[in-house]
């Protein structure tokens, strides 16, 4: 069934179709519609789930953790300050290997108070052990929720499905809402690896000394490393059932490109406008959208960008005292593999518009010199 829905509701429909059993969430702009629709679905019986209306995001994640270890499929959604408040519990969920799925709407961090988009909230959580998927359309949001459950439950690692505030969360698009029967086929009932139960009484996540801790972390990393292949496989299964392919990276006209614009989230679509325009002018420009940020798609990036002389990374985020985070990660992926010049751009912090002009400016800058003249190339900042 096709429906015109907002990005936030694509998350809600995803959770509904996944037959999420326990939801614990706390409202924050621009996430509120996710939980409003889910509360309605729980109230009218469309979704048979318990919605715990917690008093904070910290408790939201704690309750998801409790429900997950009890054996239920769980969901939550948040943004920005709420995600930051959850930080301790994000480590807990991943360290405890619980396949929780969460939607996060990218909103810049205060102060000053802001509700507009950038990626510093979710990227600040990059080392918590969560999978992170940055979406660029409402259809992709819904599809990714389902795929995220599939991956998370297979490998026992939680997933974060990420959307730009407003640019995606509040934008209405046509979304194909798949049949429940097909979803059930793709995503069968949650079969937890282990649960807290009196039938097999065990103590979970207790005191762990140096003789055991490191192996637990080693295993988490080893399983993280399996995710790219698992993404590929579950993406193919998804295509078979629903006719839509899901991929960890999305290259667009990259094969012969002399300049590749690397983007994440909705900015990719804007980049394509500039790419097409440049192509018409005879300039060989391409776009690589990185959807999966954790684990970082090293192999894909190395393969796709192996012969690209110039790479322009757009970061809507910053690691203060370093660079934009996607550019750091991409540089580390390419290190020692070739002679690519990586131009690290920062734009759009706190919701400042990223337009086709921003990409035109990037392409001009990249065309002018062989190597970047500055570590960070700022777009649209008043100096």
């Amino acid at each position: 069934m096709k429906k015109v829905i907002m990005g936030n509701h694509a998350l809600s429909y995803g959770a509904m179709l996944a037959r999420t059993q326990v939801i614990a969430a706390y409202p924050i702009t621009p996430q509120t519609q996710v939980v409003e629709l889910l509360s309605e679905m729980c109230a009218d019986g469309t979704l048979n789930a318990k919605f715990i209306k917690v008093e904070s995001e910290h408790s939201a994640m704690a309750a998801c953790i409790g429900a997950s270890i009890a054996g239920a499929r769980t969901f939550t959604a948040t943004s920005s300050q709420g995600l930051a408040l959850m930080h301790e519990m994000l480590h807990w969920a991943a360290g405890g290997r619980l396949p929780i799925v969460m939607g996060n709407i990218n909103r810049a961090m205060a102060p000053g108070w802001t509700i507009w988009t950038d990626q510093n909230d979710s990227l600040s959580q990059r080392d918590t052990g969560w999978l992170q998927f940055y979406c660029s359309s409402n259809q992709e949001v819904l599809d990714t929720v389902l795929q995220a459950y599939k991956i998370s439950e297979t490998i026992s690692i939680p997933s974060m499905v990420v959307l730009d505030a407003f640019a995606l969360s509040h934008t209405y698009e046509v979304v194909d809402i798949p049949d429940q029967a097909l979803v059930d086929e793709y995503l069968p009932k949650f079969k937890p690896y282990a649960t807290v139960t009196p039938d097999d009484p065990r103590a979970f996540d207790g005191l762990t000394g140096p003789e055991h801790y490191m192996e637990l972390r080693y295993k988490l990393q080893k399983d993280m490393e399996k995710v790219p292949a698992l993404f590929e496989e579950t993406g193919r299964q998804y295509e078979k059932i629903f006719g839509r392919r899901l991929s960890a990276v999305e290259p667009y006209l990259c094969d012969d490109a002399e300049i590749v614009l690397v983007t994440s989230g909705t900015a990719g679509y804007t980049a394509r406008v500039a790419v097409e325009e440049m192509r018409k002018k005879g300039l060989k420009v391409g776009n690589l959208r990185i959807k999966m940020f954790r684990p970082f798609p090293f192999e894909d990036c190395r393969r796709i960008l192996a012969k690209t002389p110039k790479i322009a990374v757009l970061d809507r985020n910053i690691s203060y005292g370093h660079h934009g985070i996607f550019s750091q990660e991409l540089k580390s992926a390419l290190y020692g593999t070739g002679n690519q010049a990586v131009f690290a751009f920062i734009a759009g912090l706190g919701g400042r518009d990223i337009t086709a002009d921003s990409f035109r400016e990037m392409i001009e800058t990249v065309s002018r010199t062989d190597r970047p003249t500055e570590d960070i190339l700022w777009i649209g900042v008043k100096r």
């Binding site: 614990a24 209306k53 917690v54 008093e55 408790s59 429900a67 807990w92 807290v196 103590a203």
Partner: protein, 299 residues
């Protein structure tokens, strides 16, 4: 013929936590969980945040309990327990009791928000706080459950705690939860009955259990049981229950309330107190006890 003396066991003989765990000698918290689990039985899931009991249980891969335990973050005993209960409900288990088992720090301080949230929602869990009146696991720092006058490592003798203990029971009663009870490890039958009652009631149940800590209080391990009696008989920790936030019942009546001096003398944490200081504490105890007696009248 000489009449044989018979002893009646007032508590079930079954044990759910094993001997040889990591508790200190004379640990009240150890007794507390032992008695409570005798009442709740094996089909109980514990959510234990950071506190001494996170250690007492034994490090990975060991556990001294025959009940399942989920070790959770410090401030999340209530919210994790709520989640476990919701998860069980959704997988079709409506029988298992879910109990948050936290220290006073995890209850009065850092976990109060989550506890208040669960109580307001009336989530169907037992929240039990074993109260040893300080952060013992991290080395005896003051909590808001530490009584006035007491020494801890963050309230040194030169500047002991000068605020009274937070009245957590009044706070929880104000949430109008179906059941709340105070208990002491030295009145095991009373504690047992209250835990049993809590198990049968739906909604949020709060058990506040006084649990002496020889290590933190600088008392002798063999005085743990004695202290747990004295604290009731001198009115510092009266034993009662509150139903629906309204109906107060004193379960252990105190005939003639003793002065607090002997109780204080058994504990190094009060050693520095001068007679004036003790008099002030006595006054504080008397006033609080009188206020509570009025509540027991239920007028």
């Amino acid at each position: 013929m000489k009449k044989e003396k018979k002893m009646t066991l007032t508590l079930p003989i079954e044990e759910h936590i094993g001997a040889g765990n990591l508790a200190c000698q004379g640990c009240g918290a150890n007794l507390a969980l032992r008695y409570v689990l005798k009442a709740l039985g094996q089909r109980t899931i514990l959510c234990i945040p950071a506190c001494c009991w996170a250690v007492i249980d034994g490090g990975f891969p060991h556990s001294c309990a025959d009940v399942p335990i989920y070790h959770c973050a410090f401030e999340t005993a209530a919210s994790t327990a709520t989640g476990v209960k919701a998860g069980l409900d959704m997988i079709g288990d409506k029988e298992t009791t879910v109990m948050a088992w936290a220290g006073d720090g995890g209850t009065f301080d850092i976990g109060l928000q989550a506890l208040s949230g669960a109580a307001e929602r009336n989530d169907d869990i037992i929240y039990a706080c074993y109260d040893n009146e300080a952060y013992m696991n991290t080395g005896i720092q003051r909590s808001s459950a530490t009584p006035s006058g007491a020494w801890t490592t963050t309230t040194p003798v030169k500047f002991p705690k000068d605020q009274p203990k937070k009245d957590i029971d009044a706070i929880m009663a104000a949430h109008n939860i179906p059941y709340l009870a105070t208990a002491s490890t030295s009145y095991p039958e009373d504690l047992f009955k209250k835990a049993k009652k809590a198990k049968e009631i739906r909604g949020t149940k709060f058990l506040h259990i006084y649990a002496p800590c020889p290590t933190g209080w600088k008392s002798r391990p063999e005085d743990t049981v004695k202290l747990g009696r004295m604290v009731v008989q001198n009115g510092i920790f009266p034993l009662y229950e509150v139903e629906g936030g309204e109906k107060y019942t004193q379960t252990i009546k105190v005939k003639d309330k003793k002065p607090i001096d002997d109780y204080l003398k058994l504990q190094g944490r009060f050693r520095h107190l001068k007679p004036e200081g003790i008099a002030m504490l006595q006054d504080e105890v008397d006033r609080r006890y009188a206020r509570l007696l009025k509540k027991f009248e239920n007028k």
